[in-house]
Amino acid sequence: MEQIKKSLNEIVKSLISEKKVEYVFGFEEGTLPLKSVPLYIEKEEDIDRMIWNEYCNLNLVKFLLEEPHGKKIGIILKNCEIRSLIVLINENQINREDIVIIGVPCSYGIIDFNKVSKLIGGKEFTEFKKNGNDYTFKGVDFEKTIKLQDILSNSCVYCKDKNPVEYDYLVEAPIEFKTIQEEDIDEYLDVIEFEKKKPKERWEYFKKELEKCTLCMACRESCPLCYCKVCFIDSNQPQWFDKTEDLSEKLLFHMTRAIHLAGRCIMCEACTRACPEGINIHLLYKKLRKMSKDRWNADKIELGDPSVLGSYKIDDPQEFMVKED
């Protein structure tokens, strides 16, 4: 981590001092333990506040959508986030030349705060200590050590796509990072396992998770790929959605969001981590990603790739079509 920090500091410093960008987007320490805050690095002295670690939990690409075209911005990203930026560039939302990508090889991934909270029974921890991959959380009446593997974001546990595929500057990492899993496993193993369950069991799982939803839209608002000026859920002329928290409405929202993200979602899981209720429906998105892979080999999106939803080939697999006998 030290080497990454040093390399990152040098790159950011040169970008700022040579005025190559208006600012660099990174993270600073939050006001609570294990929380980070987006940081706009505009001056050299801001660099001291910059952090880069396993709890930089947002996908900063989201914030680029707010910026006008033509403004030169630096941004520090991991590979999943770089792929989300690529989707936006492919969809003509962001100009590649406006963005200076500082790519960082990702080590084990990002901690999901919700998982920590659940494992300590909804209590509050006031400090945490790291010892290798053991994290010890301490609160007023407890101390608990948890393995990093159990609090990493779901997708990070299986991710092997750790090195930036598109960048202007590449941060030097000391070693080649691997997944936290000891064995070499399939990136889609969790989906494959879930597919084996009975439809009723899968439905019960999603139903239980979605019942917690308060429709606060933190998932949508933290997702860089949710950029519709008017989301269907906010449309009131016509109104598709009655805004109540009935399961039918929650399902309508989440299913529609998933379909809109099919072939686009790059599993950064910023949405899961942003969810105040700790809802875990990432498998829905990952399943769609797996389908994109199986059918069009389109799970790892690169610059210039056609979009799964926005393109058509005569020999597209069509096994999803209902056939008439």
Partner: protein, 357 residues
Amino acid sequence: MVKKKEKQDNQTFEKIIPKDKLDSLIKGLNKDFKLIVPKETEDDIEFDYLDSDKEEYQFPEYQNLRVSPKKFLFPRKEVLYSFEKEGTNIKIKEKEELIEDQVIFGIRSCDARSYKILDTFFSSGKYSDPYYFSKRNKTLLIGLACNEPMTACFCTSVGGAPFSSEGLDAILYDLGDKYIFKIISEKGSAFSKYVSEYPDVKKADLKKKEEWAKSARDKIKFDINLDNIEKDLDGLFESDIWSKVSRRCISCGACSYVCPTCHCFDVQEQSDKNGGKRVRIWDNCQASIFTLEASGHNPRNSGRERTRQRIYHKFNYYLKNYKILGCVGCGRCIKVCPTNRDIRETLKAVVEAAEKA
């Protein structure tokens, strides 16, 4: 005269309840009241109705709960009335709700104060809200003073305190090995019969209580003087601090849904060909659609205006309209925010900007 005497008695009604007798107190109360208590779930602690068949009730270890008990009086979705088609006529059915006397037990001081704010809002103006007050008037609050405030707590900066009994009908002080049960309000004197068997409080216990109160207060590290906040904000409506503050906001509504005092609502209709119902649901001012007008114009079109609105509503408009602050300092919005936008930092920025102006 008699009434006055009763009140005096209330003020001094303090009993000692051994910790192992909490369950029998709860059982006693549960005979006459429906109880809402903190309950352990699979991976959290939440307010829920007490399952009276269950054996022994003990407080779970909690500082404060992730979600406030707001929903018990102001539900996330509430049917206001329903209608049915009968031939060519429409039959309107009023809401029928059987509300039993209930007690929210173990509520923290900040959350109890939040009901005072909701009471003020729902009874302001010409009408008082029948849906809220039908439940509110049947609800009593028994607090549990807060020995261990959390990292995001700032109740002392907004007029509260961990041991405040404001808004409560009775309060329990946890002295480590026993509780003091104190009746606070006139309504709360209804509780005297459930605790009359217990010994009266002694001077030493009260001293111990004061020590706990002080230690709890000392644990709140954040302190800001908001005496002039209304005036401060009056001069900052167009300030550029709102652009800075909103820069990190992603405009979700997580803060407003966990807030114990946020009360904005929307009214929707759910209907099919045979009838339907009019429902009231929670709304939140951080959503872009919140103030979208029929013309297409939106007076709060960006995060800047929406962030500002949330602060102004709680720290300026509330003071103007009702002479109280609209925030109880529970810190939930800080914890829940995906970008860790901290309302304490915003308040600091406001006070600093006002000093400079």
